[in-house]
Protein backbone atom coordinates (compact mmCIF):
# COMPACT_ATOMS: atom_id res chain seq x y z
CA UNK A 1 0.00 0.00 0.00
CA UNK A 2 2.80 2.37 1.04
CA UNK A 3 4.83 1.45 -2.07
CA UNK A 4 1.77 2.14 -4.25
CA UNK A 5 1.27 5.62 -2.74
CA UNK A 6 4.95 6.43 -3.16
CA UNK A 7 4.88 5.31 -6.81
CA UNK A 8 1.78 7.47 -7.46
CA UNK A 9 3.45 10.57 -6.00
CA UNK A 10 6.61 9.87 -8.01
CA UNK A 11 4.54 9.43 -11.20
CA UNK A 12 2.81 12.80 -10.64
CA UNK A 13 6.14 14.53 -10.02
CA UNK A 14 7.69 12.91 -13.10
CA UNK A 15 4.72 13.96 -15.24
CA UNK A 16 5.00 17.60 -14.07
CA UNK A 17 8.75 17.54 -14.67
CA UNK A 18 8.35 16.12 -18.21
CA UNK A 19 5.72 18.75 -19.05
CA UNK A 20 8.05 21.51 -17.96
CA UNK A 21 10.96 19.96 -19.88
CA UNK A 22 8.82 19.70 -23.04
CA UNK A 23 7.48 23.25 -22.56
CA UNK A 24 3.94 21.89 -22.45
CA UNK A 25 1.75 24.59 -20.89
CA UNK A 26 1.22 23.10 -17.43
CA UNK A 27 -2.24 24.67 -17.31
CA UNK A 28 -3.42 22.19 -19.90
CA UNK A 29 -2.34 19.14 -17.92
CA UNK A 30 -5.14 17.42 -16.05
CA UNK A 31 -2.95 16.55 -13.04
CA UNK A 32 -1.85 20.15 -12.67
CA UNK A 33 -5.49 21.29 -12.72
CA UNK A 34 -6.36 18.71 -10.08
CA UNK A 35 -3.47 19.79 -7.85
CA UNK A 36 -4.48 23.45 -8.25
CA UNK A 37 -7.84 22.69 -6.62
CA UNK A 38 -6.31 20.92 -3.63
CA UNK A 39 -5.69 22.71 -0.35
CA UNK A 40 -4.06 21.47 2.83
CA UNK A 41 -4.60 22.96 6.28
CA UNK A 42 -5.22 21.94 9.88
CA UNK A 43 -9.01 21.92 9.70
CA UNK A 44 -11.74 23.09 7.36
CA UNK A 45 -14.18 23.74 10.24
CA UNK A 46 -12.68 27.20 10.63
CA UNK A 47 -12.55 30.29 8.39
CA UNK A 48 -10.48 29.94 5.23
CA UNK A 49 -8.51 33.07 6.15
CA UNK A 50 -7.43 31.70 9.52
CA UNK A 51 -3.82 30.56 9.77
CA UNK A 52 -4.19 26.89 10.68
CA UNK A 53 -1.44 24.89 8.98
CA UNK A 54 -1.37 21.11 8.97
CA UNK A 55 1.25 19.60 11.29
CA UNK A 56 3.40 16.53 10.83
CA UNK A 57 6.00 14.84 13.01
CA UNK A 58 7.32 11.28 13.27
CA UNK A 59 9.62 9.45 15.69
CA UNK A 60 10.74 5.96 14.68
CA UNK A 61 12.90 4.50 17.48
CA UNK A 62 15.07 1.40 16.91
CA UNK A 63 12.96 -0.44 19.43
CA UNK A 64 9.69 0.40 21.11
CA UNK A 65 6.60 2.15 19.85
CA UNK A 66 6.62 4.64 16.97
CA UNK A 67 5.10 7.97 17.83
CA UNK A 68 3.67 10.46 15.45
CA UNK A 69 1.60 13.55 14.89
CA UNK A 70 -0.61 13.97 11.84
CA UNK A 71 -2.88 16.93 12.38
CA UNK A 72 -4.42 18.18 9.17
CA UNK A 73 -6.81 17.84 6.29
CA UNK A 74 -7.02 17.93 2.51
CA UNK A 75 -9.78 19.60 0.53
CA UNK A 76 -10.63 19.40 -3.14
CA UNK A 77 -12.61 22.29 -4.63
CA UNK A 78 -15.68 20.82 -6.33
CA UNK A 79 -16.89 24.06 -7.86
CA UNK A 80 -17.99 27.66 -7.51
CA UNK A 81 -21.35 29.36 -7.67
CA UNK A 82 -22.07 33.05 -7.14
CA UNK A 83 -20.46 33.84 -3.73
CA UNK A 84 -20.23 30.14 -2.94
CA UNK A 85 -17.38 27.61 -2.90
CA UNK A 86 -17.97 23.86 -2.49
CA UNK A 87 -15.28 21.44 -1.32
CA UNK A 88 -14.87 17.76 -0.48
CA UNK A 89 -12.80 17.35 2.68
CA UNK A 90 -10.86 14.64 4.50
CA UNK A 91 -9.24 15.30 7.89
CA UNK A 92 -7.07 13.14 10.11
CA UNK A 93 -5.99 14.17 13.59
CA UNK A 94 -3.75 11.60 15.24
CA UNK A 95 -1.33 12.49 17.99
CA UNK A 96 0.40 9.77 19.98
CA UNK A 97 2.88 12.21 21.53
CA UNK A 98 0.51 13.67 24.12
CA UNK A 99 -0.79 12.48 27.48
CA UNK A 100 -4.30 11.65 26.21
CA UNK A 101 -3.87 10.43 22.65
CA UNK A 102 -5.97 11.76 19.80
CA UNK A 103 -7.22 9.63 16.87
CA UNK A 104 -9.94 11.28 14.83
CA UNK A 105 -10.87 10.86 11.17
CA UNK A 106 -13.53 12.77 9.25
CA UNK A 107 -14.75 12.97 5.67
CA UNK A 108 -17.47 15.09 4.11
CA UNK A 109 -18.55 18.31 2.49
CA UNK A 110 -17.54 21.90 3.18
CA UNK A 111 -19.22 25.02 1.83
CA UNK A 112 -18.30 28.69 2.08
CA UNK A 113 -20.92 31.35 1.45
CA UNK A 114 -20.08 35.03 1.32
CA UNK A 115 -22.82 37.61 1.74
CA UNK A 116 -23.71 40.97 3.28
CA UNK A 117 -25.78 41.26 6.43
CA UNK A 118 -26.03 45.04 6.37
CA UNK A 119 -23.75 46.83 7.27
CA UNK A 120 -21.11 44.07 7.38
CA UNK A 121 -19.91 41.37 5.03
CA UNK A 122 -19.91 37.88 6.48
CA UNK A 123 -18.53 34.48 5.65
CA UNK A 124 -20.64 31.44 6.44
CA UNK A 125 -18.64 28.21 6.63
CA UNK A 126 -20.76 25.07 6.88
CA UNK A 127 -19.49 21.51 6.97
CA UNK A 128 -21.32 18.20 7.01
CA UNK A 129 -19.02 15.32 7.89
CA UNK A 130 -18.89 11.72 9.02
CA UNK A 131 -16.54 11.53 12.01
CA UNK A 132 -14.87 8.36 13.31
CA UNK A 133 -13.19 8.74 16.69
CA UNK A 134 -10.79 5.82 17.04
CA UNK A 135 -10.13 6.23 20.75
CA UNK A 136 -13.73 6.33 21.93
CA UNK A 137 -15.04 4.18 19.05
CA UNK A 138 -17.70 6.84 18.36
CA UNK A 139 -19.10 7.30 14.88
CA UNK A 140 -20.98 10.52 14.31
CA UNK A 141 -22.57 12.73 11.71
CA UNK A 142 -21.53 16.31 12.42
CA UNK A 143 -22.77 19.66 11.16
CA UNK A 144 -20.60 22.71 11.83
CA UNK A 145 -21.73 26.24 10.94
CA UNK A 146 -19.55 29.31 11.52
CA UNK A 147 -20.27 32.96 10.92
CA UNK A 148 -17.34 35.34 10.65
CA UNK A 149 -17.06 39.02 9.67
CA UNK A 150 -15.17 39.80 6.47
CA UNK A 151 -14.00 43.35 5.82
CA UNK A 152 -11.48 45.03 3.57
CA UNK A 153 -13.33 48.37 3.42
CA UNK A 154 -12.81 49.61 6.99
CA UNK A 155 -9.80 50.67 8.98
CA UNK A 156 -9.73 47.38 10.85
CA UNK A 157 -9.70 44.47 8.45
CA UNK A 158 -11.28 41.10 9.27
CA UNK A 159 -10.27 37.82 7.60
CA UNK A 160 -7.88 39.70 5.32
CA UNK A 161 -4.26 40.47 6.21
CA UNK A 162 -3.62 44.04 7.37
CA UNK A 163 -0.67 46.21 8.36
CA UNK A 164 -0.07 48.59 11.24
CA UNK A 165 0.54 51.68 9.09
CA UNK A 166 3.91 51.62 7.34
CA UNK A 167 5.54 49.47 10.01
CA UNK A 168 6.91 45.95 9.51
CA UNK A 169 4.13 44.50 11.66
CA UNK A 170 1.08 42.85 10.17
CA UNK A 171 -2.09 41.39 11.67
CA UNK A 172 -4.89 38.99 10.89
CA UNK A 173 -8.17 38.96 12.84
CA UNK A 174 -10.38 35.88 12.42
CA UNK A 175 -13.12 35.80 15.08
CA UNK A 176 -16.28 33.74 14.59
CA UNK A 177 -19.40 32.41 16.26
CA UNK A 178 -21.12 29.21 15.33
CA UNK A 179 -22.94 26.05 16.09
CA UNK A 180 -22.12 22.33 16.12
CA UNK A 181 -24.64 19.52 15.94
CA UNK A 182 -23.19 16.07 16.59
CA UNK A 183 -25.31 12.96 16.19
CA UNK A 184 -23.44 10.01 17.69
CA UNK A 185 -24.72 7.11 15.59
CA UNK A 186 -22.69 4.29 17.07
CA UNK A 187 -20.49 3.86 20.10
CA UNK A 188 -18.99 0.99 22.11
CA UNK A 189 -21.10 2.27 25.01
CA UNK A 190 -24.70 2.60 23.73
CA UNK A 191 -25.44 5.29 26.35
CA UNK A 192 -22.98 7.57 24.55
CA UNK A 193 -25.25 7.56 21.49
CA UNK A 194 -27.49 10.60 20.96
CA UNK A 195 -27.37 14.23 19.93
CA UNK A 196 -25.24 17.08 21.23
CA UNK A 197 -26.04 20.64 20.22
CA UNK A 198 -23.31 23.20 20.91
CA UNK A 199 -22.84 26.92 20.50
CA UNK A 200 -19.31 28.16 19.83
CA UNK A 201 -17.39 31.42 20.01
CA UNK A 202 -13.85 31.80 18.77
CA UNK A 203 -11.57 34.77 19.37
CA UNK A 204 -8.47 34.43 17.28
CA UNK A 205 -5.84 36.42 15.52
CA UNK A 206 -2.16 36.76 14.75
CA UNK A 207 0.55 39.41 14.73
CA UNK A 208 3.51 39.04 12.37
CA UNK A 209 6.94 40.55 12.02
CA UNK A 210 7.61 40.99 8.31
CA UNK A 211 10.66 41.10 6.05
CA UNK A 212 11.61 44.45 4.53
CA UNK A 213 9.55 45.10 1.41
CA UNK A 214 11.27 47.10 -1.33
CA UNK A 215 8.15 47.08 -3.56
CA UNK A 216 5.08 47.37 -1.29
CA UNK A 217 2.66 47.90 -4.21
CA UNK A 218 3.53 44.70 -6.10
CA UNK A 219 4.43 42.37 -3.25
CA UNK A 220 3.43 41.58 0.30
CA UNK A 221 6.29 41.26 2.73
CA UNK A 222 6.85 37.61 3.70
CA UNK A 223 6.54 36.88 7.40
CA UNK A 224 9.62 36.12 9.48
CA UNK A 225 7.90 35.40 12.76
CA UNK A 226 4.25 35.10 13.68
CA UNK A 227 2.61 35.01 17.08
CA UNK A 228 -0.90 33.59 17.00
CA UNK A 229 -3.65 33.26 19.55
CA UNK A 230 -6.96 31.40 19.58
CA UNK A 231 -9.52 30.86 22.31
CA UNK A 232 -12.54 28.69 21.50
CA UNK A 233 -15.45 28.39 23.87
CA UNK A 234 -18.00 25.61 23.35
CA UNK A 235 -21.21 25.35 25.29
CA UNK A 236 -23.49 22.32 25.00
CA UNK A 237 -27.05 23.67 25.07
CA UNK A 238 -28.54 20.25 24.69
CA UNK A 239 -26.98 16.83 25.23
CA UNK A 240 -29.04 13.65 25.46
CA UNK A 241 -26.01 11.34 25.59
CA UNK A 242 -24.48 10.03 28.82
CA UNK A 243 -21.48 12.33 28.36
CA UNK A 244 -23.25 15.23 30.10
CA UNK A 245 -21.17 17.79 28.28
CA UNK A 246 -21.45 21.40 29.49
CA UNK A 247 -18.72 23.91 28.73
CA UNK A 248 -15.39 23.15 27.02
CA UNK A 249 -12.57 25.53 26.19
CA UNK A 250 -9.52 25.35 23.97
CA UNK A 251 -6.70 27.85 24.19
CA UNK A 252 -3.98 27.80 21.54
CA UNK A 253 -0.98 30.10 21.44
CA UNK A 254 1.90 29.72 19.05
CA UNK A 255 5.05 31.15 17.56
CA UNK A 256 5.99 30.29 13.97
CA UNK A 257 9.26 30.84 12.19
CA UNK A 258 8.66 30.90 8.42
CA UNK A 259 10.88 29.02 5.96
CA UNK A 260 8.56 29.73 3.00
CA UNK A 261 5.77 32.30 3.02
CA UNK A 262 3.62 32.86 -0.03
CA UNK A 263 -0.11 33.45 0.20
CA UNK A 264 -0.89 30.03 -1.18
CA UNK A 265 2.13 28.10 0.16
CA UNK A 266 3.49 28.29 3.70
CA UNK A 267 6.04 26.16 5.49
CA UNK A 268 7.11 27.04 9.02
CA UNK A 269 8.65 25.67 12.18
CA UNK A 270 6.26 26.18 15.03
CA UNK A 271 6.14 26.10 18.79
CA UNK A 272 2.61 25.83 20.16
CA UNK A 273 0.95 25.69 23.53
CA UNK A 274 -2.46 24.07 23.81
CA UNK A 275 -4.73 23.85 26.80
CA UNK A 276 -8.25 22.46 26.83
CA UNK A 277 -10.28 20.15 24.65
CA UNK A 278 -12.07 19.87 21.33
CA UNK A 279 -14.72 17.13 21.46
CA UNK A 280 -15.30 17.20 17.71
CA UNK A 281 -11.64 16.46 16.94
CA UNK A 282 -11.28 13.85 19.71
CA UNK A 283 -8.94 16.03 21.74
CA UNK A 284 -9.47 15.33 25.46
CA UNK A 285 -8.89 17.99 28.10
CA UNK A 286 -5.15 18.43 28.60
CA UNK A 287 -2.26 20.84 28.34
CA UNK A 288 0.93 20.49 26.29
CA UNK A 289 3.69 22.20 24.33
CA UNK A 290 4.39 21.09 20.78
CA UNK A 291 7.18 21.73 18.29
CA UNK A 292 6.31 20.87 14.70
CA UNK A 293 6.77 21.42 10.97
CA UNK A 294 3.70 23.25 9.67
CA UNK A 295 2.43 23.17 6.10
CA UNK A 296 -0.42 25.09 4.47
CA UNK A 297 -1.00 24.90 0.69
Amino acid sequence: MKTKSLLTIMAIMLCCYLCRAQNVPVDSVLIYRLLKDISIRNTFDEDVSKVTPAQFMFTIPRSGEKSYLVDGGIAYTLGYLKNYTAKAIVEYHKNTMIEKEQDNFSVGYSGLYYTTIHPINVMLTHNLTFVDDGRKSDRSIVFVGNLSPYSTKRKIRFNAPGNFGDSRFGYLLTPNIGTEIQQVLKSLLPEREGTIFRGTADFSGAISFLQKNPDPINTIAPRILQLSFSYTLRRAFSDNTSVGERKTELLKAGADFFILDKTTKQVSLGLAFKKGSNPLKGLDSQQYWQFSVNVQL
Partner: protein, 79 residues
Protein backbone atom coordinates in the same frame (compact mmCIF):
# COMPACT_ATOMS: atom_id res chain seq x y z
CA UNK B 1 -10.30 56.95 -14.87
CA UNK B 2 -9.62 54.20 -17.44
CA UNK B 3 -11.04 50.68 -16.90
CA UNK B 4 -7.48 49.43 -16.45
CA UNK B 5 -6.77 51.85 -13.61
CA UNK B 6 -10.19 51.26 -12.07
CA UNK B 7 -9.47 47.53 -11.91
CA UNK B 8 -6.00 48.18 -10.49
CA UNK B 9 -7.42 50.54 -7.85
CA UNK B 10 -9.92 47.90 -6.77
CA UNK B 11 -7.20 45.24 -6.61
CA UNK B 12 -5.10 47.54 -4.40
CA UNK B 13 -8.02 48.51 -2.15
CA UNK B 14 -8.93 44.88 -1.38
CA UNK B 15 -5.25 44.12 -0.74
CA UNK B 16 -5.09 47.03 1.73
CA UNK B 17 -2.45 48.86 -0.28
CA UNK B 18 -2.10 52.58 -1.16
CA UNK B 19 -4.18 53.71 -4.14
CA UNK B 20 -1.34 54.03 -6.68
CA UNK B 21 -2.65 52.10 -9.71
CA UNK B 22 0.11 53.37 -12.00
CA UNK B 23 2.68 51.53 -9.90
CA UNK B 24 0.84 48.18 -9.99
CA UNK B 25 2.42 45.97 -12.66
CA UNK B 26 0.25 43.92 -15.01
CA UNK B 27 2.39 40.86 -14.29
CA UNK B 28 1.84 41.00 -10.52
CA UNK B 29 0.25 37.84 -9.16
CA UNK B 30 -2.64 38.43 -6.74
CA UNK B 31 -1.23 35.90 -4.25
CA UNK B 32 1.98 37.91 -4.09
CA UNK B 33 0.08 40.93 -2.77
CA UNK B 34 -1.73 38.95 -0.10
CA UNK B 35 -4.88 37.70 -1.82
CA UNK B 36 -6.64 34.75 -0.21
CA UNK B 37 -9.70 32.85 -1.39
CA UNK B 38 -12.22 35.28 0.13
CA UNK B 39 -10.47 38.33 -1.30
CA UNK B 40 -10.65 36.74 -4.78
CA UNK B 41 -14.42 36.26 -4.37
CA UNK B 42 -14.78 39.93 -3.34
CA UNK B 43 -12.71 41.02 -6.35
CA UNK B 44 -14.95 39.00 -8.70
CA UNK B 45 -17.95 40.97 -7.40
CA UNK B 46 -16.13 44.30 -7.77
CA UNK B 47 -14.97 43.50 -11.31
CA UNK B 48 -18.53 42.62 -12.31
CA UNK B 49 -19.66 46.03 -11.02
CA UNK B 50 -16.92 47.74 -13.10
CA UNK B 51 -17.84 45.67 -16.19
CA UNK B 52 -21.52 46.59 -15.78
CA UNK B 53 -20.76 50.27 -15.23
CA UNK B 54 -18.74 50.43 -18.45
CA UNK B 55 -21.22 48.16 -20.28
CA UNK B 56 -18.44 45.90 -21.55
CA UNK B 57 -20.85 42.95 -21.62
CA UNK B 58 -18.37 40.78 -19.75
CA UNK B 59 -19.58 38.24 -17.18
CA UNK B 60 -17.10 37.35 -14.42
CA UNK B 61 -17.57 33.66 -13.70
CA UNK B 62 -17.50 32.63 -10.01
CA UNK B 63 -14.15 31.01 -9.23
CA UNK B 64 -12.46 32.54 -12.29
CA UNK B 65 -10.10 34.62 -10.14
CA UNK B 66 -7.63 32.78 -7.95
CA UNK B 67 -4.53 33.84 -5.99
CA UNK B 68 -2.56 32.62 -9.03
CA UNK B 69 -4.29 35.14 -11.37
CA UNK B 70 -2.31 38.17 -12.53
CA UNK B 71 -3.42 41.79 -12.65
CA UNK B 72 -3.61 41.59 -16.46
CA UNK B 73 -5.86 38.48 -16.18
CA UNK B 74 -8.24 40.60 -14.09
CA UNK B 75 -8.18 43.50 -16.55
CA UNK B 76 -8.81 41.05 -19.41
CA UNK B 77 -11.92 39.69 -17.68
CA UNK B 78 -13.48 43.17 -17.55
CA UNK B 79 -12.38 44.74 -20.87
Amino acid sequence: MSIENEVKSEILRIAGKPDQPDLLKSTTILGDIGYNEMMCRELEDSLQVIANRHATGKIIRPGSITPESTVSDCIGKVK
